[in-house]
């Protein structure tokens, strides 16, 4: 695997697996102004697996998720989820945005945010019933936040906010979970809780894709990794992908040898 993938990529990849993969990206280019955030990116995320998207700041990790979900329009490229255009299967995809992307002083309680995850089934006018509330409470229990249901969201710590976002995604009962830096700035207990929830999702056949920034924990948490820096550097099982060469190619001079040694054990 590793850098050798480039040769394989010369061919058109169109195996059956790619046609039905939870998420397959081909030739994706996204630019803000003139500078490409992603350039001709190919990536395939396998079903029932936890995958990490890894790269330095500004490598286009979050942009990849945003392009997948239609929050930014790509210049070119094909994005498919379960073999369909993403827009047609959004009900199978749950998204956990970066915690810092919203204003937490918004007038809402924790349970209100989780109920937002059921927007599709509630529609415009269907009343929120006991069953919906119970399900929202279940989701909060799974992230250890059941005692905070009536709290105003502004009173939560960073880790608690992150868990509320995860609970909202759980309420969608999706098959594919896309998380943008869920471990950024959270406490150790929250990180443990989130990892446990994600692993339980994977163990029930769901697919989990996480934009991740902590190289030290990649091999503990994930089976596969995608290394990007505007373009794809490497993709595959974590053990094959995390090598001095690929990390050097991804991070350039930013990783000291000592750090490399630590990450690679």
């Amino acid at each position: 695997m590793q850098l050798g993938l480039a040769a394989r990529d010369g061919r058109i990849v169109s195996t059956d697996e790619n046609k039905t993969a939870p998420l397959a990206v081909r030739g994706l280019t996204v630019t803000y102004g003139e500078k490409p955030a992603l350039f001709a990116l190919d990536a395939t995320f396998e079903a029932g697996v936890m995958s990490a998207i890894i790269g330095p700041n500004g490598a286009g990790k979050s942009t990849l998720l945003k392009a997948v979900l239609g929050m930014v329009s790509p210049v070119s490229g094909d994005i498919r989820a379960y073999g369909h255009p993403v827009r047609d299967v959004l009900d199978r995809i749950a998204y956990v945005p970066q915690r810092a992307s919203v204003d937490w002083d918004f007038p809402a309680r924790v349970i209100d945010v989780v109920l937002m995850g059921m927007a599709r089934e509630l529609g415009l006018l269907r009343p929120i019933r006991r069953a919906h509330r119970d399900r929202a409470m279940d989701c909060l229990t799974r992230v250890g936040m059941e005692h905070f249901a009536d709290r105003q969201i502004g009173q939560l710590s960073g880790g608690q906010q992150q868990r509320v976002f995860l609970a909202r995604a759980l309420a969608q009962e999706a098959d594919l979970y896309l998380l943008d830096e869920p471990f950024a700035g959270v406490d150790a207990a929250t990180e443990k809780t989130i990892v446990a929830v994600l692993k339980s999702l994977r163990d029930t056949g769901r697919t989990v894709v996480v934009v991740h920034h902590d190289l030290a924990t990649v091999s503990d948490y994930f089976e596969r990794a995608l290394l990007i820096n505007t373009t794809r550097i490497a993709e595959g099982p974590v053990a094959d992908v995390l090598t001095p060469d690929t990390l050097q190619a991804t991070y350039g001079g930013r990783l000291a040898q000592a750090q490399l040694a630590q990450i690679l054990g």
Binding site: D103, P107, A108, D112, V113, L178
Partner: protein, 393 residues
């Protein structure tokens, strides 16, 4: 109505209905952090009013048909709205700059047209200026009916769209990811405010209508932490503002209705700003002072428990006033007991916080809260068993 004249009763009813509808639709705009868009919308109505007048005169009418003028105002407001959207989306201008540009260009053009109309000497142009600051003197039954129906429809639409509008306001990225067309939701949100503006300019005037859209929701935000309730309170607040303002302006001849309504709303806002529980200024200042005192007392007690001197004068003063310390800085009898309690409490918390399994209970730790308010007596007994047996001073 209360012995008011027919006109005053009409105006009060119309203003109340308008205020309620404006408060409800404005809430979503404020929560979306786009309050100022309403100002651009309002100012962008002026050229439409003037052009509609000219067109109607050119077609041989007398140019003062309200329906025609409002139609014109709606068209140019919509154009202004599209301009703001386009400038923000397609250029590097930020939204506030786009709002400023559209507002001033449209308004300037409108004033120019008004001047032109005056110089045309048509003999019946008088009246268009009233759209600037509003006029209620000649309000008709049909005007009140227009407000009632238009405001009712806008309110109904806002209630139907409240979920997508709240989701888009809180987390637009997530809203898109769940398949919501946020651009269209935003357009609907601003279209509703535009409708309110158009039916409201006759009463309040286009310069001040923005106050009816923004003041009720920012006032309501002081009183609730829940989106739905903020919308509801804003509706009630807006309705009361319109009604009370109109009634006050009816108490004396020549009191302008629009400005009085806006001042009434401002009074409600100022009052809420001051006295609202938790978010109000008074509550915030008092809370900070109380908190500061508690922190000083606690730190003072812990210092006493450890036998450290209390350096800070404020702390010492608090301790002395509470009868916990003597003027020389030593602990009194009660002070020693309180200090020991504080230290025990702090030690228990440290044990609790070191235990990952107790994370939820530990999250209540703020340095002040007694552990008894979080744990049951047997849970505390368990912690005490794990407390390193060290002497408490």
């Amino acid at each position: 109505m209360w012995g008011l004249g027919y006109n005053a009763a009409l105006v009060a009813t119309g203003a109340g209905l308008l205020g309620a509808a404006a408060g409800i639709t404005g809430s979503f705009l404020v929560l979306r952090k786009r309050a100022l868009v309403s100002d651009a919308i309002a100012h962008a109505t002026l050229p439409g009013i003037a052009l509609a007048f000219l067109v109607m005169v050119a077609l041989g009418g007398d140019g003062r048909s309200l329906a025609g003028l409002l139609m014109g105002s709606a068209l140019s407001a919509w154009l202004g709205l599209l301009c703001v959207g386009w400038l923000t989306h397609a250029t590097r201008l930020s939204e506030d700059a786009a709002i400023g540009a559209v507002l001033s260009v449209f308004f300037g053009f409108g004033i120019l047209l008004l001047t032109v109309i005056q110089s045309l000497n048509l003999g019946r142009q008088a009246g268009l200026e009233t759209f600037l600051l509003g006029a209620t003197a000649g309000m008709l039954y049909s005007d009140a009916l227009t407000i009632a129906i238009g405001g009712g429809l806008a309110t109904l639409a806002a209630l139907v769209l409240r979920r997508p509008m709240l989701t888009a306001a809180f987390d637009p990225g997530y809203a898109i990811a769940t398949g919501l067309d946020v651009r269209r939701v935003d357009l609907a949100m601003m279209g509703l405010v535009m409708a309110i503006t158009v039916i409201g300019i006759k009463i309040v005037g286009l310069v001040l209508i923005v106050a009816m859209v923004i003041l009720p929701p920012v006032t309501a935000r002081f009183w609730s932490d829940r989106g739905n309730r903020v919308v509801l309170i804003a509706g009630i607040m807006g309705g009361l503002t319109g009604l009370v303002g109109a009634l006050i302006s009816a108490t004396a001849p020549n009191l302008p209705t629009g400005p009085i309504i806006v001042l009434t709303g401002s009074a409600g806002f100022a009052l809420s700003l001051l006295i609202a529980p938790r978010r109000g200024l008074l509550a915030t200042v008092l809370g900070q002072h109380r908190y500061q005192r508690q922190v000083h007392l606690r730190q003072g007690l812990l210092a006493l428990a450890h036998g450290h001197p209390v350096y800070e004068r404020f702390t010492l003063r608090l301790l002395i006033r509470a009868g916990l310390a003597n003027p020389d800085g030593t602990a009194t009898e009660t002070g020693r007991a309180a200090a020991a309690r504080a230290l025990l409490d702090e030690s228990r918390w440290q044990v609790l916080r070191a235990d990952p399994a107790q994370e939820i209970a530990a999250s209540h730790y703020d340095g002040l809260r007694p552990i008894e308010t979080v744990l049951t007596p047997d849970q505390i007994a368990q912690i005490d068993a794990r407390l390193a047996p060290r002497p408490l001073t």
